[in-house]
Subunit: 397 residues, 4 copies
Amino acid sequence: MAVDLSHSPDVAELVDRTRAFVRDVVVPLEEQHGGVARTEEVRTELQRAAKDAGVFAPHVSPEYGGHGLDMCGRAAVFEEAGYSLFGPLALNIAAPDEGNMHMLEAIATEEQKQRYLRPLANGQVRSCFAMTEPAPGAGSDPAALTTHAVRDGDGWRINGRKWFITGADGAAFAICMARTSGSAGRTEGATMFLVDADNPGMRLVRHIDTLDESLYGGHMEVVFEDCLVPDEAVLGEVDEGFRYAQVRLGPARMTHCMRWLGIARRAQDIAVARASEREVFGSRLGELGMVQQMIADNEIDIAASRGLITQACWELDRGRSAAQSTSVAKTFCAEAVWRCVDRALQICGSLGVSGDILLSRFLREVRPFRIYDGPSETHRWSIARRVLRRHDKESTR
Amino acid sequence: MAVDLSHSPDVAELVDRTRAFVRDVVVPLEEQHGGVARTEEVRTELQRAAKDAGVFAPHVSPEYGGHGLDMCGRAAVFEEAGYSLFGPLALNIAAPDEGNMHMLEAIATEEQKQRYLRPLANGQVRSCFAMTEPAPGAGSDPAALTTHAVRDGDGWRINGRKWFITGADGAAFAICMARTSGSAGRTEGATMFLVDADNPGMRLVRHIDTLDESLYGGHMEVVFEDCLVPDEAVLGEVDEGFRYAQVRLGPARMTHCMRWLGIARRAQDIAVARASEREVFGSRLGELGMVQQMIADNEIDIAASRGLITQACWELDRGRSAAQSTSVAKTFCAEAVWRCVDRALQICGSLGVSGDILLSRFLREVRPFRIYDGPSETHRWSIARRVLRRHDKESTR
Amino acid sequence: MAVDLSHSPDVAELVDRTRAFVRDVVVPLEEQHGGVARTEEVRTELQRAAKDAGVFAPHVSPEYGGHGLDMCGRAAVFEEAGYSLFGPLALNIAAPDEGNMHMLEAIATEEQKQRYLRPLANGQVRSCFAMTEPAPGAGSDPAALTTHAVRDGDGWRINGRKWFITGADGAAFAICMARTSGSAGRTEGATMFLVDADNPGMRLVRHIDTLDESLYGGHMEVVFEDCLVPDEAVLGEVDEGFRYAQVRLGPARMTHCMRWLGIARRAQDIAVARASEREVFGSRLGELGMVQQMIADNEIDIAASRGLITQACWELDRGRSAAQSTSVAKTFCAEAVWRCVDRALQICGSLGVSGDILLSRFLREVRPFRIYDGPSETHRWSIARRVLRRHDKESTR
Amino acid sequence: MAVDLSHSPDVAELVDRTRAFVRDVVVPLEEQHGGVARTEEVRTELQRAAKDAGVFAPHVSPEYGGHGLDMCGRAAVFEEAGYSLFGPLALNIAAPDEGNMHMLEAIATEEQKQRYLRPLANGQVRSCFAMTEPAPGAGSDPAALTTHAVRDGDGWRINGRKWFITGADGAAFAICMARTSGSAGRTEGATMFLVDADNPGMRLVRHIDTLDESLYGGHMEVVFEDCLVPDEAVLGEVDEGFRYAQVRLGPARMTHCMRWLGIARRAQDIAVARASEREVFGSRLGELGMVQQMIADNEIDIAASRGLITQACWELDRGRSAAQSTSVAKTFCAEAVWRCVDRALQICGSLGVSGDILLSRFLREVRPFRIYDGPSETHRWSIARRVLRRHDKESTR
C-alpha cells in the first residue's frame, strides 16, 4: 500500500477508448451543430456510436449494462467525455440523468430499478430532478424547500413550483423532492418521489431562457398541482429526502467538475493551436510572454482541478462523506474552468468571440457552473464553517 | 485655476436630463426587446424620443444639430446613456457612428460634411468603419493592413477583405482604410476612403455570429473587390490614414469606456436591488459579507474607471495625444466593467443566468470589449513600452 | 467652470520643488539609512533641508508657517514627498503629526494652538494620537472604545490601555480619545484630551515589534492610569470625540494614500530601471511579456489610485463628508500600492528580496496599510452598506 | 491496482509522530526564538530532540541513519515538519542540506559518501550549494553560469562569484557548480565540485541582508579565487553538472513546496483560532462573510497545493522527469502559500503585523519562494513552451 495515481488496465483502456471516440466521432458532430444538440436524432446517433465504441454508460453497474466504474475511474473517463459538449450525452453520463442513475442504484427498490433505472441506463428514456425552486424556495439553501406532499388515500398529493429543472422537456419521469414534514428552513422532512411525465398533475410551464444552452432538454419551470402519486412512487424512505439529496449531490458535484474539466482542456487545446499558428507583431502568438502566461495558468488550473477531484473521489470511494473535499473541489473547479475558457477566448481574440470556433459557446456554458450546484459563496461559507467547527472541537478537547 | 471635477450648469443639466430619459423611456423599451434592437422601427422610435427629450447627438457641434460637448462632457452624458444597451442608439452616440462623426468633423471637407456628416448626425443614415481584417491582416496590429488601393484613372481601386465591421448591415456608407503605399507591417501609407453602400465593389459577405449582439447592424465580413471610388472619396490626405486612425481611435476608445461604464452601474443597481430584497439562509442577501464584498468591489471598480476616464478626457480636451492615459483607461475599464457584470450576475444567482433579467445579456455584450479596440495584452504591451522608453530617455539625459 | 485637473501655478511649482528636493536630498539619505530614521539627528537634518528648500509643512496654514494647501494640493505634493520613506518626515507631513495638525487647526482653542500646534507645525516637537486599543477595545471598530475619563475635581481622570500608538516614543504630547459617557459599542460619548508627555499618568509600556519600521517613533503600547488632566486639556467639546475622529480620519486616510502612492511610483521606477538594464535568457528583462505586464499593471494601479484620491480630495475641499469616496480610495490604494511594490520586487528577483535595494523594505512598510486606518474588509462593509441604504432610500421614495 | 492516496502504515505512523513532535517540542522553541534560529545550541537541541522522537532524517536511506522515504512519503512528513519554521532544521531536512544529501546519495562515490554524506546525514556538519551568481551570471537562467574551473595539474582551479548561497556560514563544505567547457548561455559543460570550507580559495564575502531570515546560516556571497581542488572533488562526471542540477532541483523544488505548505497550514490555524475567539462589531470574527471567504480560500489553496505536490512526487517516484508537474506545482504552491499567509495576517489585523504572533515573520519567509528556485515567470514560460512543443509535435504527426 502506498500512494498510487495510476488506473487499473481496464480503466486505463476505457479512458483511451473514450478519448479516441470523442476526438474522432463526437467533436465533428458537435462542431457541426454549434455545440447544442436539439433533436432526438442527434442524441440517438451519439449514443448508438458510443455503444458501438464500447464506451456507453461507464458509471452504471454491469447488471444494467455499464462498466461499473468507481468515482476515481469516472473522474478519468468523464473528463475525456467532457472534452466535447456532446460527449456526456453520447456516453449517457450527462446531467441530470447520470446523477439520477447514481441515486436510483443506491436507494431504489428492485421494482423501481427495473421500471426507471433500466430504460434510463440504456438511453431509452431521459429523466429530470425536480429540486430547485424560485425564490424564496429551495435554491442555494435546500432547507428553504416549499413544495410539499401530503397523504392522500394510499398515495400522496404534491403541490409546488420548481425551476431550473434541467432536461425536463422530454423526460419520461421526474424525481421530485417535496416536504412531507417540518417547515421551510428545516433540513429534515423531505421525501423523494418518482413522478411519471404523463401525470396530469405535473406541468411543464416554460423553458427558461438561460446563458447556457447545451444541457439536453433545457432548463424548465415545472408546476406540481395536486399531483397524485401512489405510495410506490416514494424513492427510499419518507422524510429522508435531504439525506438522499446529499447522496446524489456529493458525487454529482464531482461529475460536473469532471465533465467541465474536459471543456477546460478543450479550450486550452484550441487556444494553444491558435497560439502556435497565428502571427502578430512579427512573432508567433505563442512566443509572447502574456500569451505564455495564460497558457501556463490554464495548465496549472487544469492540473490543480484534477488533483482536487482525485482527492474527493478517493474519499467518496472509501465511503466517506467527503463533504469538505467535494465543496473544495467544486468551488475551485467551477472558477478554474471559467478562467481557462476565458483565457483561451482572450488568446483567440476576435476569432474567439465569433461563432467560427466554439469558445464563446463554452464561455456561456461554464459560467453558470459557478452558481449551479451551490454558488461559490455558499460553498465557501460551508467550508469555513467546517474549519471553524473543527477548531472549536479540537480546542475544547 | 485649481482642480475641479464639476461640470458647467449646461452639461450638468444635460446629464440629469439624459439620466431621466434613459430611466423613463429607454430602459422599458430595452427590457421589452431583451436588449437587442433588431429593426429600424425601434431605432427610429428611440431617436425620435431622444430628440423630443433634447438629448440627441450631444457630441456633435451645434452646427450639425448637437450639443457640442467636449470629451469631459461626453464622459458624463455617455455614461448616463450607456446605462441601457439602447441608450447610445437613442442618442445617436453608438459605435461606430459616433466615432465616424468625430472623425468627419475633424478631417472631412465641407462638401463631405454636407454629404456624409449631416445625415449621419441627425440619424437619417448610419455608417460603418472598415478597418479590421481577418488574420493575418490588420487586427490588434493595425500595421498588418493588407487591403490596398491603387490609382485607377481619376480615382482609386480598392481590394481587400475586412471583418468585424460593426453596423455594416444597413449602413449608407463605409469609411474604408486601405494601404496606398508601403507594405504590410509599416505604420504609414494608409488612406481613408468614403465608400457608398451602393458601390458594386463593396460586398457584405456574411454576418459574423458573435457573443455580443447588441451593436445595431451587427458585425459583418465585407469584401472590397475592384471597388472603384473617385478622388473625392479620399477622407483627409492620402497616406495619412494611420494618423487619422489615431484621431478616431483615442476618443473612440474613451467613448466605449463611458458607455460600458453605464452598463456596469446598471448591473450594480440590479444586483443591489436583488441583494436588498432576496432572503437566503435567514438573512437579507445584502447582509452577507461575501455579497457585500462584491457590491463594494463594484463600487470601487466603477469609481476607479470614472477617474481614469476623466484623466484621459481632460488630456484629450487640452489637445494632448493622451496615448498612455487612454490605453490605461481602456485596459482598466474593459476589465473592471467585466468584473462588475460578472459579480452582479453572481449575486443574482440562477436568476442572473436566466433571461428573466438582463445580466447575462450584459455579460455577453461586455466580454468582447476586452478584445475590441485593442486586446488588453496589446495595450499593456504599449503601456509598458512607453514607460520603458520614458525611462531610457530620462536616464540618458 | 468645467472639469480641470491642473493645479494653480503656485501649487504646481511647489510640486516640482518637492520632487527635486526628494530626489536630490532625501533619497540619498534614505538609502544611506536603509529607509528607517532612528535618531533625532536624522530628523533634524531632513527638516532643516526641507525648510531651506521651501517645501516644509505644506499643509499648515501660512499663519503657522506652512503653505496652506487644500486637499487637492496636498495630494500632489504629498505624493512627491512619499516618493521616499524619509520625505514625509522631512516635510513634517508624516503620520501621526500631520493628522494631528489638521485636527488642531480645525478644533483647538487659540491657546491650545499656540501651545501645541505651533511647535508641532515647525517641527520643534512631535505628537501622537492615542485612539486604538488592544482587543476587545477600539480597533477596526472605534465604537468598542474602552478607555474612559471621569470627572475629577476641575479636571478629568483617564484610565485605559492603548496600542499601536504611532510616534509615541519621543512625542511631546498625545491626543487621547476616551469615553466620557455611553458604553462600549456606542459611537457617541467620546472626548479628545491633550495629554503632555510628562504627565505621570501616561506610561509608554513597550515598543510593539511590527512588520513596518519606518514610522518615526515606532508603534507603542501606552497605558493611562489615573491620568489627571485639567479642563483645558479637552480638545473641542466633551462627548464629541467620535465626530472629531471623523474630522481627522477622513483626510488622514487620504494623506496616507498620497504618501504611499509615492512609494508605489518609487518601486515602479526601481523596477523599470532594472528591467531596462538586466539581461536574461538573451533579452532585456523589459522586453519579456510577463515583465511588461507587471510594469503596465503598476502604471494602471498608480493612475487609478491617483484618480480616486483626486475625487475624494475634491469632495473634501468642497466641505462634503466624502465618507464613501475616502473609503473607496483608501481600500483601492492600500491594495494597489501593495500590488505595485510586490510586482516591482518580483521584477527585481533575488536582488529585490535583498537589502541591496529598498524594495523589501517598502514591502514591509506598505503591507500594514491594508489594515491600519480600517482594514479593507471594514471599509468594504461600510461601502456596501452605504450603497444598500442609498438603494433602500431611493426605492421607497 | 487503482488510485490510492493512503500511505503505508509505517509512513502514516511517522507522519503522526512528526506532527506530535512539532506541536509539542518544536513550536514552543520556535515561538521563544521568534522563528529564527541563530545558534548551534538551538540547532543541536532541535536535532537531538528529533532523534529522540525517532523522526530524524526521514529522507535518507536507512544505511545512513534515515527512514528511506520516497517522494510521496516525504510529501506527508515534510509538510508536518514545515508546520514550524524550526521543524525542517530539527529533522535535518532543511534547505540546502536536504537537497545536497539527495544528490550525494544519487551520484557520489562510496568514498565521497563516507566523507561528506555520512556526517551531513547525522547532523554533525552542514553544507551549502554554490550555484547562483549575481547578474549577469546564473540566476533564473542557469545557463548563464560564469564561474569556471580549469585543469590545474591533477586537479582543478575554480574562479567565480556566487551569491544567495544559503547556509554558507558554518557549512563544512560546498557543492560548487562551475563551467568546465562551453561558454555562458549553453546548458552543457558544467561540473559539480566538492569544496571543503577550509579551502583558502573559497571566501565568504558577506551576509546578504534578505527579507527572509529563517534559513539557518543565512544567504551569503561567496567568492572562489584560484580555488584549487583535487580530482576526487569532482562529484559525478565532468561536464554533467547541468544534468545533476536537474536531479537535485526537481525534488528540491518539491521539498520546498512541502515545507512551505506546512507554514500555510500553520498560518491558517493561527487565523482560525483568532477568528474563533475575537469579537468585532458584535460578531465573532469567524461569522463575518469576508473572513469566512479568506478561511475557505486558504483551505482551497492548501488542498490544491497538496494535490499538485502529490502528482509531481508520484511521477518522480516512478522515475519520470516530472519537469512539467514540478514546475506546475512549484508555481502554484509558491503563490498559494503566499496568499494563505497574507490572508491569515489580514484576518488577525494589527495583531498580525505585530511580532506578538509569528505571521509577519512567516510573510517575510515565504515571499522569496516566488523567486527562489526559479521565479514564477520563468516557470510559467517553461510550462507554456512545453505545452506548445507538445502541440507542435502532435500536430505534425
